[in-house]
Symmetry: C3
């Protein structure tokens, strides 16, 4: 295991990769600001007329299905293929997969037509994509994340899968890492899952050759920022605000020492 979040964060801040995000309306500002605070450059573009051009110029592409509609699905597929052709890693956040047929089928279609490097979801969403039944209650729904689920999904989907929860599990189907950084306040703010996906895309832009490690490093960085923000917070609002300060204040030289990562 060579999980080196500090080194990756340093590389990210030096290269400032452009992270093209086709994401949901609810979190666009939040994922843009998380990306920028971390040190990468966010750009949002969803028109079918421009997504291929934008994706081809990007260091990574993030697809998030949180508020779908027909034109957006078409844009995600076009952008995904353009990113693949350009060699930019694609990260998928299957928000609400399992909650409606449209979401489940769209996530499946993206996985079938686009070469996805990392899927980042909660346990219910990942279980749905891995062909298991799960109790779904909206996008905030969360079960305890499971190492076994991440491993099975990684194997089934043929990519890296991050199942986030109280403890995050990241697996490529063979190796599985557990990341214990984070804070319970992360679950009190809507969109922190989507932010962790944007951070995953940002790390993948400098870790395209090691998606398992990059995905785990992203969750370490986001989790450490969550820990720092919790120290400043009186509740979800002040936590949310402090989270951007904390992402901006992450220090490459201390990040490795603060990482709570274990290979299972």
């Amino acid at each position: 295991m060579t999980v080196t979040p500090g080194e990756s964060l340093r590389a990210l801040r030096e290269r400032k990769p452009l992270i093209h995000q086709i994401t949901n309306y609810v979190v666009m500002n939040e994922t843009a600001n998380a990306t920028l605070a971390l040190g990468a450059l966010p750009v949002m573009a969803h028109a079918t007329e421009e997504v291929e051009e934008m994706a081809a110029a990007a260091g990574a592409l993030v697809l998030n299905i949180g508020t779908l509609s027909k034109h957006w699905i078409a844009a995600m597929l076009l952008a995904g293929k353009a990113a693949n052709a350009a060699g930019a890693p694609v990260v998928l956040d299957p928000v609400g997969a399992g909650a409606t047929r449209l979401r489940t089928e769209t996530a499946q279609r993206i996985l079938a037509e686009v070469d996805v490097a990392v899927v980042r979801g909660n346990a219910a969403e990942v279980a749905t994509l891995a062909g298991r039944t799960a109790e779904i209650r909206g996008v905030e729904s969360m079960e305890a994340g499971g190492a076994e689920l991440a491993q099975a999904a990684g194997s089934e989907l043929g990519c890296v899968v991050s199942v986030t929860g109280p403890v995050d599990h990241v697996s490529d189907g063979v190796r599985t890492l557990a990341v214990s950084n984070g804070d319970a306040l992360l679950a009190t703010v809507s969109g922190t899952g989507c932010m962790s996906t944007a951070v995953t895309g940002s790390f993948l832009a400098v870790r395209a050759d090691a998606p398992l490690e990059g995905a785990a490093e992203a969750l370490v960085a986001f989790g450490v920022a969550g820990e720092d923000a919790a120290g400043e917070a009186k509740g979800p609002g002040t936590f949310h605000t402090a989270l951007y300060d904390a992402l901006y204040g992450l220090r490459p030289d201390t990040l490795d020492a603060r990482a709570k990562v274990e290979e299972l």
Copy 2:
């Protein structure tokens, strides 16, 4: 009058109802976070392909016309009918009714085709829907809310109507309640009206049998949170942040004592 906001809040936090929101782009993150901080589970979905499925699974449906377009109107009607069929209460926020013909007519059409439990708007919007003339200057426009207006609109529209302002008035056309909780800083943040509608939907999910009381309880809870947030604020930005902390920190055991509700 049996306005028991504490008991309803306790029930809401135990049941964690899913609140399906088809709302405007400006406030999606804000209403999602207000809903979650309060203790319910927000979900946003607007595609005609999935809204019926989502609304049927929800504890309440919130329709907000703040940034309309053709497909969204179709989705609101489909979702409204599905919520009706499933027995989930529907709350309508007629943002900007009176400001353009599209908004006035869309609000009227929803009221005609969907069984709406509660309309939550400012005085100008409600006056428009009740067939009265009103001076409209954008969505932030506000006149002093009036008991008489709420009563007349409740009677005219055949549902509960909440007219919010410095004092809020809630009426079903027969009984009228005045809620005096709140703080002037609420008017300095865009989207607090929309948040109060989302909170109304959250309370209705556990108070479907008593929409007059549920709507008033929601405004008590949101108003008390506003009072608490004002104590932490230096202006609209810090107030906005503190509002989520305050919603999260609302205590069921003290909420009844803090309620300023009067039956007129």
Copy 3:
């Protein structure tokens, strides 16, 4: 030079002009709240069925191409022409011009078909519209703003051009003003450029007869707010929150003295 930001801010707060904004999904809440905190009334509307009616009622129209699609382009053109017919100033933010052909061509088309009073962009965007080559890396991309660029673009485009950066430059092609207010933290929050465009629209609503001065005054006000917010901030998140407090707290009686404006 008669740059009098204090007097304009006082007029703005007295008249509370309605500022119609057709802007991108990422910043809608942020520009609405910046507009409201400043003292004007924001309204967002993008449906082709209502934009002409809304624009005709507004004190200014802000067009921002940050997340385009076909229907929104049509709406921008309709709204722009309606604002022109009603005599309301139009401000254009060409977000990402140069990054994709769709954005460049849309900005050019708006400039060709609508009488734009002020273009507010970063150096790369403005350079693109002025027919110069520029290195573009996403919407956060920024080069050092240049007096010469603003002057050339103002002359080429036949309107006022604001090029924002560490120092802002505003020119109508003949006269050029440099505004040195602001803080480096503004570049760490996504959407502050879009906010400065909304503030520009708000000032133009009371300064339609003097767009060069109005555009510079807006950047003074926004920059001073940035300076005040920086004093409260620990990073991008707390800065962002404090920025709304600072806009709300701007004092007309001290604003002229704090202005750092120079005619070149």
